[in-house]
C-alpha cells in the first residue's frame, strides 16, 4: 500500500551548491580529470610549448629593446629598436613635430570620451554623448587640420601613421552606423520612393569592392567635377569608406529589425506613438541589441580595411611601417614591422570585441524575451 505523499511544509529556496573551487579545483575538474585526460593535457602542453617557445624566444627573450641605431641589434632575436626608433613616425606620420601636441590632445580627448561613455557609473551620459557626437568632431577638426585660431595649418597629405588610421576608423565607425540605421529603416519603408532610393544605394555600394570605391574617389571623381573645386583626398576617401560600410551596416541592422515581432510595433502604435518614437524607443533599441555581434563584426572589418587607403597614397599605420622597411639604414626588419603592425591592429580589434561582449551582457534583461 502506497504511503500518503502529501507535502505539508514547502521546501525553502536554497542557494545553488558552490562549484567554484579555486584554481586547483578548476585544474582538476577540467584538465586532470582522470589518468587519460591528464596525459592528454600534458601532451597538448608539450606540443604548445614546443611550437610557441621559439616565438617567445625570438620576440621577448633574445630580442633587443634598447638603442637607437641598427648597431644595437644583435641579430639573434627580434630587433624592436627598429620600432622604437621610428615610433614617432608610426604614430604621427609626417605631421610637423611642433604641432604634434594637437594630435596628442585629440587622442586624449577621444580616449576620455570613450572611457566616460563606457564606464556605467559616470554621470551625465547624455551630455557627454552629445559632446562626443557634435562638439568633439568640431574640436578635432580644428585641432588636427589647423588654420584657425593661430594654429599652423597641417594639410591632410602630411597626416599619417596611427593617427590617420584612427581618424579613418573613427569617422567611418561613427558615420556608418547612423547612416546604416537610416538606410535599414528606409529599406523597410512603406513609401516606394524612399525604399527604392535606399535599395539602390545599398546594392550599389555593397556591389563594388572597397578598393574600387577608393580608386573612384581619388582618380575618377576629379574628372567629373570642375578643376577649381578641390576636394581633399582624405575627405573623399572618408566619404567613400563611410558610404561603403553604411551599406553593410544597413543590412546588419535590417536583420535585427526583421527579428523584432510585429506585435512590438503594434503595441507602440496602439499607445499613440508616432513613427520615429516607435522606431527610436521600441524597435531600434531591441533590434540593435540583437545585432551587436554583427555591428561589431562590421566595425572590426572597417578598422582593418582602413589600411587599404594605402593604395590611393595615404600613409596609414601599415603603410608607414612598410615605408620604413625601405629605409636604407633599416633594411631587413620586415618581420618586426609586420608583427608590430599586426599587434596594433589586434589590440584595437580585440578591445572592440571584448567591449561588445560586455555591452551584450549588460543589456540583457530577464530570463526570457
Amino acid at each position: 500500500m502506497a504511503e500518503m505523499a502529501t507535502r505539508i511544509e514547502m521546501i525553502e529556496a536554497r542557494r545553488p551548491p558552490d562549484l567554484r573551487r579555486g584554481v586547483l579545483g578548476w585544474l582538476r575538474a577540467n584538465l586532470f580529470d582522470g589518468p587519460l585526460n591528464s596525459v592528454i593535457t600534458l601532451c597538448v602542453l608539450a606540443v604548445l610549448g614546443w611550437g610557441l617557445w621559439p616565438l617567445v624566444q625570438w620576440a621577448l627573450i633574445d630580442a633587443d629593446w634598447l638603442g637607437s641605431t641598427r648597431e644595437a641589434c644583435s641579430g639573434e632575436g627580434a630587433c624592436w629598436v627598429f620600432i622604437s626608433a621610428r615610433f614617432e613616425t608610426i604614430v604621427y606620420g609626417f605631421y610637423p613635430e611642433a604641432a604634434r601636441w594637437r594630435v596628442d590632445a585629440v587622442f586624449m580627448m577621444l580616449g576620455l570620451l570613450i572611457a566616460w561613455l563606457a564606464i556605467p557609473r559616470l554621470p551625465a551620459k547624455r551630455w557627454v554623448g552629445l559632446f562626443a557626437l557634435v562638439g568633439f568632431p568640431a574640436v578635432a577638426y580644428v585641432l588636427l587640420l589647423g588654420g584657425h585660431f593661430g594654429l599652423m595649418a597641417v594639410p591632410t597629405r602630411e597626416w599619417g601613421g596611427l593617427m590617420l588610421t584612427l581618424t579613418v576608423a573613427v569617422v567611418g565607425i561613427v558615420g556608418s552606423l547612423p547612416l546604416g540605421v537610416v538606410l535599414a529603416l528606409g529599406r523597410r519603408s512603406q513609401m516606394p520612393l524612399v525604399r527604392g532610393v535606399c535599395v539602390v544605394f545599398i546594392e550599389f555600394w555593397r556591389g563594388v569592392p572597397l578598393i574600387t570605391v577608393l580608386f573612384m574617389a581619388s582618380v575618377m571623381l576629379p574628372l567629373f567635377v570642375p578643376a577649381e573645386v578641390e576636394f581633399d583626398k582624405l575627405l573623399r576617401a572618408l566619404i567613400g569608406i563611410m558610404f561603403f560600410w553604411s551599406a553593410y551596416m544597413a543590412e546588419v541592422v535590417r536583420g535585427g529589425l526583421q527579428a523584432i515581432p510585429k506585435g512590438q510595433e503594434e503595441a507602440a502604435k496602439a499607445l499613440g506613438l508616432g513613427y520615429w518614437r516607435r522606431m527610436g524607443l521600441v524597435v531600434l533599441p531591441q533590434a540593435l541589441k540583437l545585432v551587436i555581434p554583427g555591428i561589431v563584426n562590421t566595425f572590426i572589418s572597417l578598422f582593418k580595411d582602413t589600411s587599404l587607403v594605402l593604395i590611393i597614397g595615404l600613409f596609414d599605420l601599415l603603410a608607414i611601417i612598410r615605408s620604413g622597411l625601405t629605409d636604407s639604414n633599416w633594411l631587413g626588419f620586415a618581420t618586426e614591422g609586420y608583427v608590430f603592425a599586426a599587434l596594433m591592429f589586434w589590440i584595437f580589434c580585440f578591445s572592440m570585441s571584448r567591449y561588445s561582449q560586455h555591452i551584450e551582457r549588460r543589456l540583457h534583461t530577464g530570463h526570457r524575451n
Binding site: Q264, K269, L271, G272
Partner: protein
C-alpha cells in the same frame, strides 16, 4: 437574418460608430458590411470561430488594420488616412493583445510611462505616479522595477492592461487577452477585466471566455465569415440564440 440592436446601442452618446465596413486581404473578403454602434460605457463581447474576422474588426478600430470601405468614428473623430487623426484616435483607445506585447527592454514601470512621457508629454514624476496607481489597481505594483521577461504570463498581461490604462483611454479593446495564458492564470486577468467593466469603462472584448461574457457583457456579438450573425444581451444570446450558426457554435464551445 435580423441583427437585433439592443436599446443600449441606441443611446444618443455613441462612443464608436462603424458603418458599412468592408475589408479584404488580397481577394479574401475578411469583413463584410459590418455595422456596429457602441454606446459610452457599454461592454461588448465578440465571439466566433477562428478566421471569422473578430480580431480584424477590433484592430480596424485603432487602425492597426486598414479597411477599404466604410466609415469608423471613434469618440467623435472620423478615421481617415491622416496620421495625425489616427494618432488622435489611438490616444483615446487602449488595446490589450493576445501575446501581451510588453516592451522587453523596458522595466514594467517604463512600459507604463513611455506613452505618458512621449505622447502626453507628462513630467517623469507625474507619469510614474499614474503608472503606480494603475499597477496598484491590477495588483502588480510590487513588480514595477522588474523586466517583463521576469514575470509570468498572467502578470505580464495585467501589466499590459495597466500600460493601456495609463493613457486614460475612453475605450479599451481586448484581443483574446487570455488565449495565450496557462489555465491557472486566466482568472487573475479576468478578475482585473471584470473590475474594469464594473468601473464603467467602454470595452470591446474578443474572447472565448463565455463566463466573462455572462458576467459583464451588455451585449454579445457572434461573427462568422466576416459578418455579424447575431447580437443580443447575454441571457438571450446563450439561452435563446436565433440563428442555427450561433446554436452550432454555442453547442461546440459549451458542449463539454
Amino acid at each position: 437574418m435580423a441583427s437585433t440592436n439592443p436599446a443600449a446601442a441606441l443611446a444618443d452618446d455613441p462612443m464608436i460608430e462603424v458603418e458599412g465596413l468592408n475589408k479584404w486581404y488580397g481577394d479574401f473578403h475578411v469583413l463584410r458590411d459590418i455595422d456596429l454602434t457602441v454606446a459610452k460605457g457599454e461592454r461588448i463581447v465578440i465571439c466566433g470561430p477562428s478566421g471569422s474576422g473578430k480580431s480584424t474588426l477590433i484592430r480596424c478600430l485603432n487602425h492597426l488594420e486598414e479597411h477599404q470601405q466604410g466609415r469608423i468614428v471613434v469618440d467623435g473623430v472620423t478615421m481617415t488616412q491622416d496620421v495625425k487623426r489616427i494618432e488622435q484616435i489611438r490616444r483615446n483607445v487602449g488595446m490589450v493583445f493576445q501575446h501581451f506585447n510588453l516592451f522587453p527592454h523596458l522595466s514594467v514601470l517604463d512600459n507604463c510611462c513611455i506613452s505618458q512621457t512621449w505622447v502626453q508629454k507628462k513630467p517623469r514624476a507625474e507619469a510614474e505616479k499614474t503608472a503606480m496607481e494603475f499597477l496598484e489597481r491590477v495588483r502588480i505594483a510590487d513588480q514595477a522595477r522588474k523586466y517583463p521577461g521576469q514575470l509570468s504570463g498572467g502578470q505580464q498581461q495585467r501589466v499590459a492592461i495597466a500600460r493601456a490604462l495609463c493613457m486614460r483611454p475612453e475605450v479599451m479593446l481586448f484581443d483574446e487577452p487570455t488565449s495565450a495564458l496557462d489555465p491557472e492564470m486566466i482568472k487573475e486577468v479576468l478578475d482585473v477585466m471584470v473590475e474594469l467593466a464594473r468601473d464603467g469603462m467602454t470595452m470591446l472584448c474578443v474572447t472565448h471566455e463565455m463566463g466573462f461574457a455572462k458576467t459583464v457583457a451588455d451585449r454579445v456579438i457572434f461573427m462568422d465569415q466576416g459578418q455579424i450573425i447575431e447580437q443580443a444581451p447575454p441571457e438571450t444570446f446563450f439561452n435563446h440564440p436565433e440563428s442555427d450558426r450561433t446554436k452550432l457554435f454555442l453547442s461546440q464551445i459549451l458542449g463539454h
